[in-house]
Amino acid sequence: MRVASAAAYKHVTTIIIVEDDSSVNLAVSRLLEAAGFDVRSFLSAGALLADAQAHDADCLVLDVHLPDMNGFDLQRKLVATGFTAPVVVITAHDDAMHRRAARDIGAFAYLTKPFSSLSLVDAVSRAAAADR
């Protein structure tokens, strides 16, 4: 199901997932792959930042509670390095502070776990389309 390489086929939409819960990470990756996206997943902010190819992505699915830094700080770091793909925030801990932070970083969508597959696929599709 995985499409060879996003660089080789420009029309393929590449989604990056940063989620430290390995079950959720795998489940969301499978879902987006089944929906036809090219998916690259990371278990921590550091793992993504260390990856030079991260800049190819069309959309970023970011968990808030990451082991090394929160998803919002990660997004700011990425923007500082010139990476401006739209962000879909996913979180298990929904509160006003997180909602505000998501608004502040200009997140494309904010989904609280457990979210329906439809809502994630829809948010990611629209975010990636907006990026073009």
């Binding site: 199901m1 509670h65 298990a92 597959s117």
Partner: protein, 264 residues
């Protein structure tokens, strides 16, 4: 004259017992509020933990559905997904079980606790870890410390939390400066209490964040949910005490809490 005296004594006695009843009621109210706060902490933590497997299950089930609706379904992948769904279900069940155990222990079981002995036992628990991390342990335990009316299991949890935080904070401290100290002190006066202080030579904390240190989900650590200090605060308040943090002159932080005791 004697009758007047007896009546006066009776009135005084009634006043005293009313005052005692007030104090007891206030104490009950405070401990009730603190207990609710503790349940709140635990619930928030459990809700967060349970949501992860629930979220994975939902995504997996809907993905399986999507796969099966394709003309040539990838059955091995669907099987793999079902295996993960089962595992996540068991994981969620495990979390709920742990919650039950926690709530069963929730009631405070007050005993006369020798806090100095408790501090020593906590230090002996962490000693191997401290040695491994090159941390020198010092104690300054007040020999006149009265016994406190406390739940030793909960109190141990508070102390252990403060000691582990103190050790964690010294990760970047030069080896020869890594000192952890526990002090106990009897503080007489209108509100007699004992104070337990855990001091480290670590990074300290940003003064602006002082009020946030004890909030749920606030953490400076790379692992952990940020519940240790908020649970510690709930437990200390449940005992009628207070907990706070200070940066030390010359580096490091000190975390102190109080426990009231009866008598002078």
């Amino acid at each position: 004259m004697q009758t007047v005296l007896i009546i006066a004594l009776l009135v005084q006695n009634r006043r005293h017992s009313r005052a005692r009843a007030d104090v007891q009621r206030q104490y009950a109210e405070i401990t009730h509020a603190a207990r609710l706060a503790l349940i709140g902490e635990i619930t928030a933590s459990v809700a967060h933990e349970v949501t992860q497997p629930l979220s994975a299950i939902l995504s997996n089930v809907e993905t399986a559905d999507l796969l099966l609706s394709q003309p040539q379904p990838n059955v091995p992948l669907v099987r793999e997904i079902l295996k993960d769904v089962r595992q996540d279900d068991l994981r969620a069940d495990n979390i709920v079980r742990r919650l039950r155990t926690l709530l069963r222990k929730r009631e405070l079981q007050l005993e006369d606790v020798d806090v100095n002995a408790l501090a020593s036992s906590v230090l002996s628990l962490v000693l191997p870890d401290a040695v491994r991390r090159n941390i020198l342990i010092r104690t300054s335990l007040d020999p006149s410390l009265p016994r406190a009316s406390a739940d030793p299991v909960h109190l141990q949890q508070v102390l252990l939390n403060l000691v582990i935080n103190a050790m964690d904070s010294m990760k970047s401290t030069p080896l020869e400066q890594r000192v952890l100290e526990i002090r106990t002190e009897r503080v007489p006066g209108a509100h007699p209490h004992l104070t337990v202080t855990v001091l480290d030579k670590g990074e300290g904390f940003e003064p602006a964040k002082k009020d946030k240190l004890f909030d749920s989900f606030y953490t400076t650590k790379t692992e952990g949910l940020g519940l240790g200090l908020s649970i510690a605060r709930s437990i200390v308040r449940m005992h009628g005490g207070a907990i706070w943090a200070e940066n030390r002159n010359g580096g490091g932080a000190s975390f102190a809490f109080t426990l009231p005791f009866k008598g002078p």
